[in-house]
Symmetry: C2
């Protein structure tokens, strides 16, 4: 299992609609091959900062399968206009607890 962590900065003028549009976009990622679960966490220290965490069965389910799927375009069309700069995305494996 792989954890995708995307660091998101939402354009301040778009903050009022971001969370509702994130809910709409969620239906698309949730249908992706190898998708397990995802969550959106809002930072307390920086008002327009969020982290998106997505659990995938494998790295390739995110980097290959999802990014080349029509679902990605539907997801991206809704949420990518919100971000400035472009999201930073990294992948992690859980080492504790095993």
């Amino acid at each position: 299992m792989i954890l995708e962590v995307a660091t998101l900065y939402v354009k301040p003028e778009l903050m009022p609609t971001f969370e509702a549009d994130f809910v709409k976009a969620s239906q698309f990622i949730a249908q992706a091959k190898g998708y397990i679960t995802h969550e959106l966490q809002k930072c307390l220290e920086q008002e327009n900062k969020f982290i998106l965490m997505v659990q995938w069965e494998t790295l390739e389910n995110h980097t290959v399968d999802f990014r080349t799927a029509d679902l990605f375009e539907q997801w991206r069309t809704i949420i990518h206009p919100y971000f400035e700069p472009k999201p930073n995305v990294e992948h992690f494996v859980c080492v504790y607890p095993k």
Copy 2:
């Protein structure tokens, strides 16, 4: 419920013992007031990068109760020598799913 996210860079020469010492240190944070759970995630893109995620009942359980507790000194003594630079710590609230 509050999610603490600490971004950790382990000194490369100390990588061989970090994960075992993290397990030893975990017993101290796990006894803290308001502690719910924690996990350590290892980055696939940067070998010495990790994220520590701790669920707390309240923000103050981390920033006040834990940081002023003897348990924090025991936790810190084991793991802080591993990090360079100093960990960046932020707090988040889950906005999806509600």
